[in-house]
């Protein structure tokens, strides 16, 4: 097992390098002079020239890439000009907030989605199935940012159950209950679409599995139906559900950008959007590489989970 994890980690290295190359190449597309883009249109020519030297921007493309990569590997992501602090410090701080939001949403959509799919399949064409199918249909069609806004209107403004936005109350907040209260709406809004997608997939995966001969065997043994569904069938269906969870994690992470904007959540998505609007290129570059790298690592964990679940995978 340990060997397999190591093997997968090693195989991630080219992917991680590829990510840096892609981000680097995209950033090299910046029209005109990057130093001017960073310093703004009113920078003095001396400052532009100095920054070009500092950033190594006067060097050839390939050389610049390796300087940049070397710096990142030594923990130097550069300095954000708009925030005037090291990019990595800002990223690490913001990423925590995103991790809390996206993490909870991911757990929420996985659990609810699979559960809904299982119930839907077990009660195929029944009332529960129809209700779930209909809800899922609506759920996957609502843009998360619109849903978030409507939730604010209903639960924060009209019913006053939950705080409008932010991660903590400005006065007297900061503890766990306060965080949870602030987390409810963004986490739900973020997980709705993924829940729907996972529910749909789980339903069809369960239907596929329930027709298999080994399910008939379990029934012929006299295994109670609840265990046939939640044990035998779900266990087998998980083999096709797990990879989709990995994909959906990417969508939850992507969606968190919108949700962070709607709920003023101080995460990395909002940081990226602000950075783009302020043309803080180094911050964008660092943030994108960092989050993409985390996502690659996460997908390795998904693969490992898959191999634990399916003994037929050679480890």
């Amino acid at each position: 097992m340990g060997g397999y994890i190591l093997k997968r980690l090693v195989s991630a290295i080219p992917v991680l390098l590829g990510i840096t190359v892609i981000v680097f190449l995209i950033m090299a597309m910046i029209p005109g002079d990057p130093a001017t883009a960073i310093l703004g249109a009113y920078a003095t020519p001396e400052n532009v020239a100095k920054l070009n030297r500092d950033l190594g921007l006067d060097a050839p493309l390939a050389q610049r890439y390796f300087i940049w990569l070397g710096n990142m590997l030594s923990g130097d992501f550069g300095r954000s000009y708009s925030l005037n602090r090291p990019v990595l410090d800002e990223i690490l701080e913001r990423f925590q907030a995103t991790l809390i939001l996206a993490g909870i949403s991911f757990v929420l959509c996985s659990v609810l989605g699979i559960l809904a799919g299982v119930v839907s399949a077990a009660r195929q064409y029944g009332l529960a199935d129809k209700a779930i199918t209909f809800t899922v249909l609506i759920g996957i069609s609502v843009p998360s940012f619109f849903l978030g806004m409507m939730m604010i209107l209903l639960f924060a403004v009209n019913l006053r159950w939950l705080p409008v936005s932010g991660m903590f109350a400005i006065y007297g907040g900061g503890d766990l209950p306060d965080l949870l209260k602030h987390l409810v709406m963004p986490a739900v809004a973020l997980s709705v679409v993924a829940t729907g997608v996972i529910a749909r997939l789980s339903r069809s995966a369960m239907l596929e599995v329930l027709r298999q001969d080994y399910i008939r065997t379990a029934r012929a043994k006299g295994v109670p139906e609840r265990r046939v569904i939640m044990g035998h069938a779900l266990r087998a269906a998980m083999v096709s559900i797990i990879p989709v969870l990995g994909i959906q994690a990417g969508f939850v992470l992507s969606g968190s950008v919108y949700i962070e904007m709607v709920f003023q959540w101080p995460g990395i998505g909002r940081m990226l959007v602000d950075a783009i609007l302020k043309r803080d290129i180094l911050l964008v570059q660092g943030g994108v590489v960092f989050v993409a790298a985390c996502y690659v690592i996460f997908n390795i964990m998904v693969d490992v989970a898959q191999s634990l679940l399916d003994p037929r995978i050679k480890t």
Partner: protein, 622 residues
Amino acid sequence: MSHFLSLLFRNRLAALGGVVLAAILLMVLVTPLLPLQDPDITNTADRFLRPFSEGHLLGTDHLGRDLLSRLLWGTRLSLAVGIAAALIAGVIGSAIGITAGYFGGRTDNVIMRAVDMLMAFPYILLALAIVAALGPGLMNALVAVAAVNVPFFARNIRGVTVGLAGREFIDAAKLAGMGHLRIILVELLPNVLPVIIIAMSTTVGWMILETAGLSFLGLGSQPPQADLGSMLGEARAALITAPHTSVVPGVMIFLIVMSINLLGDGVRDALDPRLRSGALTRPRATTLVDRKGELPAPADDLLAIQDLHTQFHVGDRVYKAVGGVSLSVQPGECLGVIGESGSGKSVTALSVMGLVASPPGVITGGAVRFQGEDLVGAPYEALRRKRGDRVAYIFQDPLSTLHPLYRVGDQLAEAIRAHHAISREEARTRAVELFRAVRIPNAESRIDNFPHEMSGGMRQRVGIAMALANDPDVIIADEPTTALDVTVQAQILSLLDDLRRDRGLAIIFITHDFGVVAQLCDRVAVMYAGRIVEEGPTGAVLAAPAHPYTGRLIACVPELGQGRRELAAIPGLPPAVDRLPAGCAFAPRCDKATEICRQGEVALSGTDSRAVRCHFPEEAVA
């Protein structure tokens, strides 16, 4: 194509999606012709007018601009950008995919590696990076969304192309000296095009949503120009005071995305043949029962199948798989049930414990009595308690009938624990004993194997051990040796025979092989087209088959050391059970058939122990 369309529109939801989408498309097409106010004219005196205000059907926004006009123009822009993004992504992605798939080898390898890298990003990161580089703006957002979706098309289209590139017509074109570009455009593209179009139509909703999202973040369309996303983004500041400015564009995005989703689902369902046949329904815990008429009187046999009727209801068709079968077994007895594929023997066996897949299976008549108690009408829990405990099954092909992800020992232990409250350790000990009883070598280590780690013969022994787990009264073995080679088959048969003698259990043995019946069974019943055509002691039936069909079936068995006996295949095919002929079902294939064979019911005549369903039996039965 027309078949596809009729399927699509028979799906009410898909039709609804189509209608909504068509209405929206029509609206944005005629927008320039409508007497609307200029969407960009501001009038701060009329800010945040509510819907249904005079002159402003949907009210006004934070600058006093008419919302209806902005909505229609914004929808037009959003749709145009989304469709453009889908077209660009589709064309570029497909070109890359076709190139990779057609040339293969190194080209393919390099391209697909790059595609994998791009797909390693959560999509929005890539889009944000591109917008960061190019700067915010609607065109740049369009480029970003298209670029992010290129890998999706490249991968899908490559898959299709690889399948086509190896086909003969491509080779023929190459031999005819056609250039690569020409082959791709003339031979390949027409075949890939439908896939490209379907992929585009299913992703266009997604792309509309993504561009709206970027605009919402302020990275797409810039004021005063507004698509639905930026309308929503601008309205966010006044969400609390003037919610209608958010609701209007939000609902429109929702309607567009939902109608495209509905249509996309409809397209997918119409194209997926498995859904069309209704095969993707899950079988229920027990077979549906819909019996009419009176139940047969209780019998005192150990297990008695009485006038059983089991049908499959698929759409309007009724397949009469079992049409009135009666069988019985006593303790220690082995009854063989023999017939060709489709004769209804497996369905009969599965009906006993309500294991016929349902839908489509329905038990429409008769009874199955175990020690006098009717199992067909029994409630689920009563049936479950007997399944595997009193009546156990051994199935054909143990690779598909054992759970692939559970250890065989656990599957065996579960069979016991489903009926007896014993500890895990006890169950494990018992599992080892059972493995020994069915002569699996190294039982202690074998119980930790997964099914795929065992040979076919060993897996079948696991299946038998599982059936024996609770010391049942009856074992129903449904072709348990068909998937095995001859020597293993002989071992399994003698194993079953020993167990029967040692434990006094009754066996119903389903097979299509008279050789197996001769070796194991006391009595045999021959099934044809869902009915029993002959029944009797094995020796008597083998020595003097009464029904012409039985005679033919015995003639199919090659005998060792009997020289060059001619193997007689039976001409013709068994009848389809949804169109059974009147009279004897075997008549169309029988040389002795006359007019009376083709009309009316042919009754089973003879005694309880020896009977035949034929007007002209080969041997008189008494």
